[in-house]
Symmetry: D2
Subunit: 477 residues, 4 copies
Amino acid sequence: MLYDIQSDKLREECGIYGIFARQENVVLSTYWGLYALQHRGQESAGIAVTDGTVMDVQRGMGLVNEVFRHGLPERPGHIAIGHVRYSTTGSSLLQNTQPLMVNYSGGQISMAHNGNLTNAREVRKELEEKGSVFQTSIDSEVIVNLIARSTKQTVEEKIVDSLINIHGAYCLVIMTENKLIGVRDPHGFRPLCLGKLGDGWVLSSESCALDTVGAEFVRDIEPGEMISIDDSGVVSRRFGETDRRAGCVFEYIYFARPDSVIDGQSVYQARFNMGRTLARESRFKADIVISVPDSGTTAALGYSHESGIPFAEGLMKNRYIGRTFIQPEQKKRDMGVRIKLNAVASVVKGKSIVMVDDSIVRGTTSGKIVRMLKEAGATAVHMCVSSPPIGFPCYYGIDTSARKELIASSKQVEEIRQFIGADSLHYLSLEGLHASIGHISAKTLCNACFNCDYPAHTPGEGSCANNKFLFEPAGRK
Amino acid sequence: MLYDIQSDKLREECGIYGIFARQENVVLSTYWGLYALQHRGQESAGIAVTDGTVMDVQRGMGLVNEVFRHGLPERPGHIAIGHVRYSTTGSSLLQNTQPLMVNYSGGQISMAHNGNLTNAREVRKELEEKGSVFQTSIDSEVIVNLIARSTKQTVEEKIVDSLINIHGAYCLVIMTENKLIGVRDPHGFRPLCLGKLGDGWVLSSESCALDTVGAEFVRDIEPGEMISIDDSGVVSRRFGETDRRAGCVFEYIYFARPDSVIDGQSVYQARFNMGRTLARESRFKADIVISVPDSGTTAALGYSHESGIPFAEGLMKNRYIGRTFIQPEQKKRDMGVRIKLNAVASVVKGKSIVMVDDSIVRGTTSGKIVRMLKEAGATAVHMCVSSPPIGFPCYYGIDTSARKELIASSKQVEEIRQFIGADSLHYLSLEGLHASIGHISAKTLCNACFNCDYPAHTPGEGSCANNKFLFEPAGRK
Amino acid sequence: MLYDIQSDKLREECGIYGIFARQENVVLSTYWGLYALQHRGQESAGIAVTDGTVMDVQRGMGLVNEVFRHGLPERPGHIAIGHVRYSTTGSSLLQNTQPLMVNYSGGQISMAHNGNLTNAREVRKELEEKGSVFQTSIDSEVIVNLIARSTKQTVEEKIVDSLINIHGAYCLVIMTENKLIGVRDPHGFRPLCLGKLGDGWVLSSESCALDTVGAEFVRDIEPGEMISIDDSGVVSRRFGETDRRAGCVFEYIYFARPDSVIDGQSVYQARFNMGRTLARESRFKADIVISVPDSGTTAALGYSHESGIPFAEGLMKNRYIGRTFIQPEQKKRDMGVRIKLNAVASVVKGKSIVMVDDSIVRGTTSGKIVRMLKEAGATAVHMCVSSPPIGFPCYYGIDTSARKELIASSKQVEEIRQFIGADSLHYLSLEGLHASIGHISAKTLCNACFNCDYPAHTPGEGSCANNKFLFEPAGRK
Amino acid sequence: MLYDIQSDKLREECGIYGIFARQENVVLSTYWGLYALQHRGQESAGIAVTDGTVMDVQRGMGLVNEVFRHGLPERPGHIAIGHVRYSTTGSSLLQNTQPLMVNYSGGQISMAHNGNLTNAREVRKELEEKGSVFQTSIDSEVIVNLIARSTKQTVEEKIVDSLINIHGAYCLVIMTENKLIGVRDPHGFRPLCLGKLGDGWVLSSESCALDTVGAEFVRDIEPGEMISIDDSGVVSRRFGETDRRAGCVFEYIYFARPDSVIDGQSVYQARFNMGRTLARESRFKADIVISVPDSGTTAALGYSHESGIPFAEGLMKNRYIGRTFIQPEQKKRDMGVRIKLNAVASVVKGKSIVMVDDSIVRGTTSGKIVRMLKEAGATAVHMCVSSPPIGFPCYYGIDTSARKELIASSKQVEEIRQFIGADSLHYLSLEGLHASIGHISAKTLCNACFNCDYPAHTPGEGSCANNKFLFEPAGRK
């Protein structure tokens, strides 16, 4: 019985990695690459490899080191792709692990996908009408069926031919017997970058994995670009144009590792700037700035830097928290946030505090943390959030809670402040957020979870009409 | 590291089970049904269940009780199907477990298959040309793709429409949201029978599983018959005619449990008769008749009965043998047959022995057993085999060793006798075998592994021309 | 959740094995030896090994192949001992696994024990009074504490000095850094034999393990004998005399493997003779003789031989039964004996049957089997039991059910017959039992579970006074 | 195959926890308490519980959540103790897990131990001479044997009687059927504190566990104090006096969690002060201060605070590092520190850096980190260590590497600087360290690993004579 210690975070759904290299142990490289991308998905992992003739895949539930604790795929090869995934629980978990590996008329193909197609259901239905069968609920299966039905000649053409039909967010790494292909959707929702490792090439969701495996960062894959790698080198092609680039702003706020650089912007610097902007916007007076570790720390340092208020570690995180296995009966005795975090009394006692966190989803955890700090002697807790209120669900690959669970979908800022018991509450403004991300224009980011401005097709569930107040951020502080 | 203690037997590839019953725990019934069919496959198991709305499947590697040791599928339902399987080792084992469960234009469908299609490769290729993708190497996936592409109206019509295209051996249990369907190929290679359990119905590879779950045997499914079961009852339809019934003769010799009845013939009685016939054919003089346990025992009792030579247990089998986990290094120190069998010295010492086994595949184990008996003091070992020499591979669902590994494909009986070190060796004649199976005519059985007379399409690998001697059984004794 | 499919058998508590051999892989030999003794205990296993300097032990819960599935102890060595065990369930299982390994003033010592001390509690208490601590509830810990407190010089003398203080049943294999020692209690309750393997020596509970590892049987260890093996060879010494040899009669009836020879008597022949005697005693008329497999088979063959009634396999056993993992909820839906056994209708239908089983403990399973045979069409079931009624608990190493659960402790034979629904019921007479075991005199066997005549000290719980009718076996048929 | 990603840290050997509470689920409380103490030992864990009559214990290898993933001890009770442990690898791991649970003349007793006895070998030998046996290599077994042999009346008196005989470091939690007892050795090497939870009481190695389970900190157990808790309340007694208090200074430097308070001193504040002192001592000029996460962060903040150089996160740690399971073959391809840490290029590029770490053991990891920072563009790396050079092994419960592996045992500071490739290297002076720990006098701390001044008995291996230079810290910078 698995009990995920309560957290109050949005969840990234996937990390992908691919390598084409004749001089490397590509399976081992993929293993360590996935290790570096583990924060993007902890519920399943998989690696597919080919030696140019046969393709093998090994997938399982759990962390990368759990899935492969009895060994990595043994096939020596020169191409491999890998996938880590977060997913909702359910009995069909195992069959939904990636990479997907199939045979089709063109041979064998493996695929790993990060993102969420917004018309998967429709395309799936159309394919079923034409006689396709589906064994999983993952979007990759829709894409490989489109590829298999394409009448184009080359695998690259087949892929492009397929992508015409799909909408939404997707970064793909695709492996054939002799090629490694990377694709990023025309909006560029999810990140994907290219690295060089000796004579070979690496594709990765984030640049931090390139550092881990010792590869050199080359560049980001462009929105609407397909990269095809084989023994003759790297070929780039544009397969889709868009009037709207829409990189996920939450990669900068929370998902990506701070040591990654996405679309030319250091995640660390973006978060540090968010903290600085928060300081300028909120102008709270306090004795110390603390963060909710670990994700709030970089912004808290920025806040401290800008405000001159010293940064301190007011909350300690249990480093061994993760997946805790306990019995249902124990579950009832919710230990809450105390298992995970503890206030450092010697730091917070008698102090007024600015506490920086990256986001508030349901608000329950924030409330518990504020209470913990007060019990430890904090005289005041001014909470700063390095993102605007999240009022709208994401359809592009993030597991936002159901709309009704988003505290900002039904409460004004002041109501939220009361709910969490903070003395003050400030959300970073959307303008401030964009300014913090620097040379990337607001127009090239997706901010839909904040302002309901979906840059691409949505499944048609949401309407912004009833959420007018969310468009008035000025009144929100 | 799994080391399957060396055996020298042909291996059945699958057992299938299905149940439609509103008053039963269908998952638990399937669990126990598979338990009773475990001898038909020990490497993977799976159960699919539906409540009429949602379908779940749980599959895994290992014995039935290992796969489900952490729990059975939890969905309550009124239809379930299950599968046990033997398969060759390889990295793709997990994805090849059954039942297969897919979505297609007609909804959800699950399928479990016993047998082997002889044109699977061709049909698969045709389907791929039309845009199908394949994620497994199991035949069921070919069949569900055919079903998904059928333009017929009902699921039964779609199935029939699909079966037109396939050749070979297949018994299927198929589950839709509201139906349980059983199919047996027109040759009737593999067994399938129908039972009644309260108000519900059960389909099973063998009748022994009906006994185990408490169901009443109703009848065998006929070759070329499809049985469709739903709330309105059982409907039978003929979907294929054949001029050649071809029930697998090895079900009677070795595969099936003796307490099963297949196509009206008790397996126990057939084996007992084989032993009697062996006695009449061989007329060996000896002090005792023994068997190679457990599969040779019934025939040995028949030999004893006919010849008047007393039956004794000259060999004891370790009941805990099965899947033994040892290290590769240990593997080298082959303990051979001693781990599994031991001669009972007090029984065999100073005795001339008739030893009855059901078959000889490679002959290596037989040789070790003969040596063991001699070392324990047997003065003579006359070996009797309750089947003719196996000289030809099976294409209909049995894992015969490669042709060249079949000792009878390259050696005459006298050469085999020398190889195994027996004082005499007698194989049951094909005529004697048929006579033993009783009211079932030789014409309704498949004897291809003995006489190269393949009753149906083969993949075209084998030719009987070079094996002429095998057609002269008279000279073989 | 482990659910031991209901059986109705007494349970042996242990098997032990030891080897001293410079040319062998002693750990692997012990592994296979325990494999051959697995029927003597399935709940835990362990192997200890020494290279003359360091001693290692590896123990765990489960079958031998489960405990060592991730590898055997890696230390190369020339002495090893092993243990398999059945035990009652409880939270303290793991700490009670054997061999026990301790340090004491004389160095390191490991010990494995088969049997049950009858004054363990008292000696333990005395030792505690002197300052000993106990970490387990196994008798070996009492013995090693006695050894450690002995003021004698050599380890052999210390052992003898210790054994003076203990009563009850014990066969021990003991390992020091340079010796392998075997001990059998003065009554000889449990078996222990010596074998030769190349230049080395093997000790084993049963001779079947010698056969398995390729060792040659040398002789049984005598009651009251200690065997000490080191590089200079084998030394025997007598440490205790008794006026009463008392080998456990149930080893012949049920516990030991038929291919073992104990104290000069083939277990197979003893069982065969029991069947013959049963036939002479019961003189049932019937069409066939069947056995409850597997333990009743040899006696059934003897019955058939003596009576001339043909033997047939009327009941088939599921070979994959063993430890079945199912959920508590499933447990309630007791599938009973059908999971394990199935009647062969073609054998039993319309037949009057003599059914031979080795013993009846609670009688519940026998009743279910009789009912199953009748439902399959048997016209009459005459049950023969190859042991007298079990009316008294064992204090010497067998897990008899509590006295009140023994059906023969409160019911006369006719009442038992009615309870199980058989048409007739005959228990082997004590005289018949003894005659069947042949050259071994009744006076050298322990028959206490049948006649309350305990050959040695008992913990003082039982009294025979209230069970007078049990002394009148004549009236019991 | 377990591969502990290379770290370069000393390792604490144990954490202990105990609870006496009639209104609490004491097992669950112990589980969460151990969770909070997990940093003190990750290789095994165990919980013992009593309901006043029976005592149960459950122990296993791995993290707390792994050991208890299939369930906690089920016995309801009002007293429980627990233990987490780091230990060296070896085949005897499982038997050395704690708590130890034994029966002795006084009943049942369980014990968990943090620390290291310096005369365990001698006492063990003496006990063996008197007839004791030892099944483990843990010190607790020595202590319980002393208790069992004590002729005193009460358990408290027996414990005191035993402690007279032992030297070294020990904090103990002891459980009898009706008492929870806590003991801290007269030097007070290891921490132990008392908390109140409702009507009950808690003992814990660190106060952070009290916070986690919701208990209120009452006070530290004094060196030489025994606390005895039962239904009538808490009784304190002094059992040993010492002229030398000697709390382990490394608890403040590295072992303890920063949110713990030990002997009145906040660990967080101590570390912060170490950083401030480092800044005053080193006076490095740099653009930024960074830490080696996580243990160096608090001192780095202190350095930043004192020096005015901004703190930044120059190194990111992979949060999923821990125990990584990889194959031996992979082990060879050492990924080194890159798996665990990554430089944040946007932070360090073009910057001169002060890098703060808590200690240097072998120096290999420090060298890799410096190189990583330089490769990421750092112009200079000035390393500051918040402890003096470690030149001498610990005999009181810390796993220092062998003396020869301690880089400071054979190299001067300048040599170490060259070895790790830093531009500067400064170790905190012993005086600075003591000043940082504040109101605790240097005389009450154990600094032996820095200055060879062992405050208590040592096993007599070490000599300070050959290490004279270590006493001249002034010359070391």
